[in-house]
Symmetry: C2
Subunit: 388 residues, 2 copies
DNA sequence: CCTCAGTCTTACAACGTTGCAACATCTGGT
DNA sequence: ACCAGATGTTGCAACGTTGTAAGACTGAGG
């Protein structure tokens, strides 16, 4: 059933190689021959056999994107952007869901079973630096997220420490006294550790001493974990009046828990997240968050991978820091309500989503503007596509 | 650098074919030979070359999943489940994001460039039945979502008409008088049309005449579209007291718009969605929705694809309807608040998420239970994995 | 008419794997 | 001792493609 070069060649009365040359747009094919062959190709519906081509050339035109969970919004959004960026370079992206399992991460990082892909962009959860280093010689690899110390590989991410400090400073600037953090983990390295460090730095800087009762675990960084951690904290001895959650899902879970306790966000407790996923923009209250420049992350990852694939594999260690900024919305700054009606007035204002510096002062203005043009999200990009 | 069968064979002092037999777990290899060869394989780090294997056998062990947008929660959740279901059968899933573009959908459906994948599960947006039919002979294909009339292909989905009718009946049972629908589209077929039909059927059944002012467009089915449609409707002549949105994102956008108008959900306007994405479970108010059995959908899609791949490709048209049920939460049923504090009392109850029939009556009970054990979601499954 | 360069086309051999059929070696029954 | 069958092992060819080098046409210059 499938048509191959030979079939076309016979039918067009030329050699197999000439057809191949036409398909690959090689020079030294007379234009009338080219036209004739092309006509036959179209007529017979010939399509090149990728495995055979790859066997011969060693290149597949595919790259892998390995993420722990595709159904986590942050990864889903990033994946979408990476697919689009890769497409601009003519590559097809094969998305692999590793579930954070080491063996699957290794498989992806090493280029899938048998060098199926030409390169890999991975966001490793459980791979060690040693494994990454071992695997990455011989296969182009770009790491997404936190840098693994001295893995000798390319790496793209935001400055988690600085970003976490920005988030914390924002809460400090709002005169919150008991600022909690949710998302801590046991490891001494990785996302959790870095964001915790940023939080602690900002606190120290302001002369605040973090209380251990106000540091909650992050679990798997899902909504559920934020919900649980917040509940646990509210049952504890110290009630926080602000929470910095290490990602947006945790924050959304935490907000839900606060509601269940009858607490108002942001009046009783201000909440800040991290990632700027779309859910946060439409939540009520909309979520103040650290917005990594995901477009920049995606573009950089793909570009870096391209370099790795072209140059000698020993292109050395390179690192790109994508910018981030604080987006202030309703969950941290109560809009200026001239009188009563707290929550509803806030809601009516529409989700404020201005690009404010580290200070939350612009938020009220931005809120007013949002109310005017009825934009729910604010401050962030839109995207095409559809559902079903 | 890469080790191949021949290298192993030479090193182990056997023929290439014997090594191949060991790798593929074939019988008729003496156990000591097997052990020796295996040792060499491990020592040399041999890994089979997939393209070559595929060239020879015609099978890659890969299947494609083609969805319009991976960053839409419904697809992301479904993709996760499909990946896990395929894994149980030893297949690797290549996720392709088509953006709803016809050419990319065709490419995926036809098995990617050159039969890279053994089969495809696709959720087509713009492919016509004719194209599907043309492509699907010669390549195993399972369609996800609404059935394309007479495309002669396998198909897996929920009964959209019945489900939409269930949702609408729920609103009718709550004694809502002006029930709106958001998510309509111009096409006479597809998801939008079927859900609209279900809505209309349920209305007619109850002796209600739908008003055209209460039918809103769905656009791309994103939050933004729901936000806009709801705003437009609220600016119109008839203010609805209930809205059935054709997916959850529309519903979340609509709820946000209602808040911005100072309207209370569910007191002033009850809202029902469709898809049961996780966001809806943690939203405030949590979202009443139609929950398709996504596990069943994923499992059925993979199983059906397996049949298509094994049997003759002309396995004929088969169709699987996955079950669905209504999940009643806060956005449609105000919890029994003994006195005042409407919203807050509702929030304190925790998101009710009981599996109720078509009637909303069980919801209050369920809410009480949820408050007890502090489960925010309710009624739905949990999942492993992590963020970063 | 021959040569030579330039342009176009072709045959052949690989890429790494596995199906096939042939061969080799054992075991146990006559 | 011989054979039949079961059990292991092997060489060859093929999957569809492209790089290489060699071949076959052109037309211009000798």
């Amino acid at each position: 059933m499938p048509v191959n070069l030979k079939d076309v060649a016979v039918s067009a009365g030329v050699s197999v190689k000439t057809v191949s040359n036409v398909v690959n747009d090689r020079p030294y094919v007379r234009s009338d021959t080219r036209a004739r062959v092309q006509a036959v190709i179209d007529a017979m519906g010939y399509r090149p056999n990728l495995p055979a081509r790859q066997l011969r050339t060693g290149r597949s035109g595919l790259i892998a994107l390995a993420v722990p969970e595709i159904d986590v919004p942050y990864f889903a959004e990033l994946a979408g952007k990476i697919v689009r960026a890769a497409e601009r370079r003519g590559w097809t992206v094969l998305i692999d869901m590793t579930g954070g399992e080491r063996s699957r991460e290794r498989r992806s990082a090493a280029g899938f079973p048998g060098d199926l892909v030409d390169g890999t962009i991975a966001s490793p959860l459980s791979m060690t630096a040693r494994e990454v280093a071992a695997v990455s010689k011989g296969h182009p690899l770009v790491l997404l997220g936190e840098k693994l110390a001295h893995a000798g590989s390319s790496h793209v991410g935001v400055d988690s420490v600085a970003a976490a400090a920005d988030a914390t400073r924002h809460l400090i600037s709002l005169d919150r006294r008991r600022i909690a953090a949710i998302g801590a983990a046991d490891e001494a390295t990785g996302t959790a550790a870095l964001r915790l460090r940023g939080y602690q730095q900002a606190m120290a800087e302001a002369g605040r001493r973090p209380q251990s009762e106000l540091i909650g675990a992050g679990g798997l960084y899902h909504r559920e974990d934020g919900f649980r951690a917040m509940n646990a904290m509210l049952d504890g001895p110290v009630r926080p009046d602000a929470v910095f959650c290490f990602n947006d899902l945790l924050a959304l879970g935490a907000i839900r828990a606060l509601h269940c306790h009858g607490l108002d966000v942001p009046r009783d407790v201000a909440v800040v997240g991290f990632d700027d996923i779309e859910d946060g923009r439409y939540n009520t209250p909309s979520l103040t968050t650290i917005a990594p420049d995901k477009d920049a992350l995606a573009e950089a990852a793909v570009r870096l991978l391209g370099l790795r694939m072209d140059g000698a594999s020993g292109a050395g260690q390179s690192e790109i820091r994508a910018p981030h900024h604080l987006v202030v919305r309703e969950s941290s700054v109560a809009p200026l309500s001239p009188s009563g009606r707290g929550r509803l007035a806030a809601a009516r204002l529409g989700p404020a989503g201005a690009r404010a510096g580290a200070l939350g002062l612009d938020a009220a203005r931005a809120g007013g503007r949002a109310a005017g043009n009825r934009s729910p999200g604010g401050g962030a990009d839109r995207r095409g596509g559809g559902d079903r």
